[in-house]
């Protein structure tokens, strides 16, 4: 589904200073997989996610989605692909504060090639029911707890029934109980919808049974494995993962 081929990303910091966030990474995530990218802050995890979604142009290498080179698409084609096929869950509060919960969830349907479908409001309600927030349709983000806001973000990410869900440290601002609830929700969605999930986290303990774990350090993949059982019980895989 998503393939990164020898991808590097160097950010220009101005005055001739640069920082290499990702260095020659090759990676493939297949349909239906649940992958976790783990690593310390600054290891390049979020950049990998952004590269996979076409949100930032690689300095070198190629990024493909279902065999299509993302950077050979026009801005419109790329945006439509993101809208229809990729859902995002961000680390930071990403709901639009001026929109209600319901309006926030509907928003991505606005960006499709054919515009919003007539059943978008019903689908948004169904999604919010699924994440346990059916009664918060008319609330504004500021009226919700951080955990509830993240649930809304997940509902928004799934409104267009994407093939791929990218989650960037979705539980980093949550307490342990809520963190477990959100991860449970991800697992449930993966199991019931079959959606491919790539989860970025700096906590290795979150990598559980059946997940592909990709560990990053200093912009490189240092270890890749598929867990066969509980966390920590991982089968090691070759570094250059091109499944």
């Amino acid at each position: 589904m998503i393939r990164l081929e020898d991808v590097s990303k160097v950010y220009e910091l101005g005055k001739g200073n640069t920082v290499a966030a990702v260095r020659g990474v090759s990676l493939a995530i297949g349909a239906g997989e649940f992958a976790a990218i783990v690593g310390r802050s600054g290891s390049g995890k979020t950049t990998i996610l952004n590269l996979a979604a076409g949100l930032t142009r690689p300095t070198a290498g190629r990024v493909t989605f279902d065999g299509v080179d993302l950077w050979k698409l026009t801005d419109q084609q790329q945006s439509h692909l993101r809208s229809r096929k990729i859902g995002f869950v961000f680390q930071f509060p990403s709901l639009l504060p001026t929109l209600t919960v319901h309006e926030n969830v509907i928003l991505p349907t606005r960006f499709g090639a054919n515009g919003p479908s007539p059943d978008a409001p019903q689908r948004a309600e169904a999604m919010l029911r699924r994440v346990g927030l059916a009664e918060k349709l008319s609330s504004y983000p500021r009226q919700l707890s951080v955990g509830q806001q993240q649930r809304v973000v997940i509902a928004r990410a799934l409104i267009n029934q994407p093939q791929l869900l990218l989650a960037d440290e979705p539980t980093s601002n949550l307490d342990e109980k809520t963190e477990m609830e959100i991860l449970g929700l991800f697992r449930e969605l993966h199991a019931s919808l079959g959606v491919t999930i790539v989860l970025v986290t700096h906590t290795r303990q979150l990598v559980t049974s059946g997940m592909k774990a990709i560990e990053m350090a200093d912009g490189r993949i240092v270890e890749a494995s598929t867990t066969a059982g509980p966390a920590g019980n991982a089968a090691r895989l070759p570094l250059d993962l091109t499944q």
Binding site: Y11, T46, T47, N50, A53, L55, T56, R57, D75, Q76, S79, H80, R82, S83, R84, F88, F90, F92, S94, L96, P97, T98, L99, E103, I106, L107, P108, R110, F111, G112, P116, R156, N160
Partner: protein, 397 residues
């Protein structure tokens, strides 16, 4: 959710920013339209007054030029005289095709024998007149007979259905002329015979009698022959007839035109300051807003919004605010012009004619479009800049 709905949500969610943009648009629209209406109204009024006078040259007693202008433009009562024999002398000057004398009179100040206080009155000679009769014909008024007057646009009957009290004499108001925005709208017009009749009646009925000297006139209106150089003819008149001053139609209302030009210069200077400042301020407000909303706009890109959508949403937001501001601005400008036009006329010393509803609608439309275009211009660069940013970097900051 449509682009406009999203823009509206952002507007209502950022009230301070929205008010700044509305206020800028309001100021630009209000000032630009007010100034345009004022200047065009004054220019149209001067043009119409000059046309209505219908003479190529107006000959008045030397030193009475300003009084003449004040009477015609602002309705300030004026009386000045020169020998009637000048009429014949002027007719004999080569290049003159027609001459017609007029007598300028005024009603008494705060006198019960006059319907209006210090109202300017013009008496003309129907045998030779070529200026007032054409208006009457154009507006399908009958020739004025003895005791009949025609009023400017703002003259209303005070005695019965169609009577006006002038020096104790009730004259019949036969009709009203179209508005010019000048003192002519507050004046009445009648024949020399009617003037003498009013003068006769005034001896017994008025607080103070009206004097119409038989051997004097106030002004002589003059039409030139085709291909005559009006400037040279005016010079010939000036040399041939001592004690008179020929005013060419092009130079008529010179002081008002000078005043208008000064006003125009002032307006251009103020507008030249306000307009770029408003654009700059709106541009800066949007640049700051765009920076403040970088993460939000980055999220929208991640959710599938195109670069174009991002730019359009900012432009739509600014466009809606500009429309609100400009609408309030044009409303206030029109209201101010309607409410304070007399005050403006008096304080600036220029006449003013309200535009027709059609012309007003066109000017309002132009005002709205120009303001919206200005705001569009101000927001274009920030909108393009923000739409082209790397979403990943935008979301990081």
């Amino acid at each position: 959710m449509s682009l406009l709905q999203l823009a509206w949500k952002n507007i209502s969610g950022n009230r301070l920013r929205s008010w700044v943009v509305v206020l800028c648009a309001l100021l630009v629209a209000a000032f630009a339209l007010f100034a345009t209406l004022l200047l065009r109204g004054a220019a149209a009024s001067l043009e119409l007054a000059a046309n209505r006078l219908g003479a190529d040259i107006v000959v008045v007693p030397e030193g009475a030029e300003t009084e003449m202008e004040g009477a015609l433009l602002m309705g300030v009562a004026a009386q000045f005289w020169m020998p009637k024999e000048n009429v014949a002398k002027l007719a004999d000057i080569p290049g003159v095709e027609a001459v017609s004398p007029q007598i300028y009179l005024a009603t008494l100040k705060n006198a019960s024998c006059c319907s209006a206080s210090e109202m300017f009155m013009v008496a003309y000679d129907p045998q030779t007149d070529f200026t007032i009769r054409p208006w009457l014909q154009r507006q399908q008024h009958a020739e004025l007979g003895l005791g009949q007057v025609v009023g400017g646009h703002n003259i209303f009957p005070t005695e019965g259905d169609d009577g006006l009290l002038v020096y104790g004499d009730v004259v019949k108001l036969s009709g009203n002329l179209e508005p010019t925005g000048t003192g002519l709208d507050q004046s009445i017009f009648f024949t020399l015979d009617t003037a003498r009749d009013i003068a006769r009646v005034s001896e017994t009925r008025a607080k103070q009698p009206l004097t119409v000297p038989e051997d004097q006139v106030s002004a002589v209106l003059l039409k030139t022959k085709p291909d005559t150089n009006i400037g040279e003819l005016a010079m010939r008149i000036f040399r041939a007839l001592p004690g008179v001053y020929p005013i060419q139609s092009a130079n008529l209302f010179r002081s008002a035109r000078t005043q208008l030009n000064s006003l125009l210069r002032a307006v251009v200077i103020v507008l030249a300051l306000i307009w770029p400042l408003a654009i700059l301020l709106i541009g800066m407000v949007y640049l700051m807003a765009a920076n403040e909303r970088r993460r939000e706009l980055g999220v929208l890109r991640a959710l599938g919004a195109t670069r174009r959508f991002i730019a359009e949403s900012l432009l739509a937001e600014a466009g809606m605010l500009a429309f609100c501001g400009a609408s309030i601005g044009v409303f206030l400008a029109v209201l101010a012009i309607y409410l304070f036009r007399r005050l403006i006329m008096v304080s600036l010393g220029v006449p003013f004619l309200l535009p027709s509803p059609g012309a007003l609608a066109v000017q309002i439309g132009i005002g709205l479009l120009l303001t919206m275009f200005s705001v569009f211009l101000a927001v274009l660069l920030p909108a393009i800049k923000i739409s082209r940013q790397d979403p990943a970097i935008a979301m990081r900051e």
